[in-house]
């Protein structure tokens, strides 16, 4: 019966294929109760049509919105078309880069708060390269993690250039949010020393930071290959 109701709903919505429409017509002749169902669905669709136009806005309307807010944005966003080559982490928080940072960041970043304005870190992690990248080292600091929009400040040294078709991504582990690490930003270094400032995904205690090596056109999940990482300890090291 749900199959027939699917056909009825599709017909009311105008989404039937010719085959389904023909099948429904035959069913309606045999089953008058379906006519009542069709009327009810049509009423719903009619109310939608009376109040919400079926048309979409022009495709570039959001570009106009961006142009209007861009001067106010802490950072801009990558253009939608062509699609970002490394996929689309649409929920990816933005990030900010230090003025002295030798990093090119995909989401163009501008705002940088000094350590003074950030206050004292809630937690600090010594970041060490994985066995394949032993030279990489640095420090990660968490600020304002008790509430939304806390900041992760990441400083790395001796970062190698990723291979062609790859970039780096920063992840954090927040046990209160589950066992999955959360992505907080991607970057492509233009030099060995990196300084990034990223918005954390939410309030909570952070246990670890990880920098992964990601293929440009890869899926949104962690690649399983890490450049470096570290565990947070409360306060400063």
């Amino acid at each position: 019966m749900s199959d027939l109701r699917d056909l009825v709903a599709a017909e009311a919505l105008g989404a039937s294929s010719p085959e389904d429409a023909a099948r429904l017509e035959a069913e309606l002749a045999r089953n008058p109760a379906l006519v009542g169902d069709l009327d009810e669905y049509r009423e719903t669709v009619s109310l939608l049509e009376a109040t919400v136009s079926r048309e979409r806005p022009r495709p570039d309307l959001f570009d106009n919105i961006l142009a209007e807010i861009e001067p106010e944005a802490s950072f801009a966003v990558a253009p939608r078309e062509p699609r970002r080559t490394f996929g689309w982490r649409r929920a990816m928080p933005a990030f900010a880069v230090g003025a002295a940072a030798a990093a090119a960041v995909f989401a163009i970043a501008l705002a940088l708060s000094s350590d003074d304005s950030l206050g004292s870190p809630d937690a600090t992690a010594a970041v060490q390269g994985t066995p394949e990248f032993t030279g990489v080292h640095g420090e990660a600091r968490i600020y304002g993690s008790a509430k939304a929009n806390g900041v992760l400040k990441l400083e790395l040294a001796d970062v190698p250039q990723p291979r062609a078709g790859e970039h780096y991504e920063v992840w954090v582990l927040r046990p209160s949010a589950g066992q999955a690490m959360e992505a907080v930003g991607v970057f492509m270094p233009t030099g060995p020393n990196i300084e990034l400032q990223l918005v954390l995904p939410g309030a909570g205690d952070y246990a670890a930071v990880d920098i992964s090596v990601e293929p440009d056109a890869g899926p949104p999940e962690h690649s399983g290959t890490s450049l470096a990482g570290g565990r947070f300890e409360a306060g400063t090291t």
């Binding site: 919105i65 944005a73 066995p131 918005v199």
Partner: protein, 196 residues
Amino acid sequence: MRSCDHFSMPESDDAVLVERVHAGDAEALRSLYERYGAIVFGMTYRLLGDRQAAEECTQDVFVSVWRTADGYQPERAQVSTWILAIARNRAIDATRRRAARPVDPHEDVWSTDESPDASELVSAADVAERVAAAMAELPAAQREALSLAYFDGLSHTEIAKRLGLPIGTVKGRTRLALDRLRALAPKYALDAEADV
């Protein structure tokens, strides 16, 4: 090389997106636009009756979301409800502004003939806002399927191809979306509007 066991990136919920918008994250605004832009435009287009005016209004709505995100109070309303309330007010304002434009730029007179009846305008905007809010409240998968059928005029077969889903799944989702809209009718006081 180190492997990580549990990595995933769930879709951010609306309230988190608003937090990020407040922090200056334009990508989060894009996500909200992708979720609700079509509904906002559809609602304002129906109220204003003019594509360009509806697009300007939709732009105003999302710029307003950007600038007033700090004022959003999650305990008072869902994000979709908040956005659609902004859309309602912007559409009413736009209609009134248009009605107040000079008929002939060479004459310093103001049109009164086409001024909309204020109560009718507000009433229409209220109904549109409630219908749009019900639409926005659909589960994401149902809203996506319904949007592709409703706004893009795609058949089930085309939607199934677009989303890479079995056609039976698409049929089920669109039907469930309409069922859900009917079920939401009392909540949004839509029963009397068209016996939904």
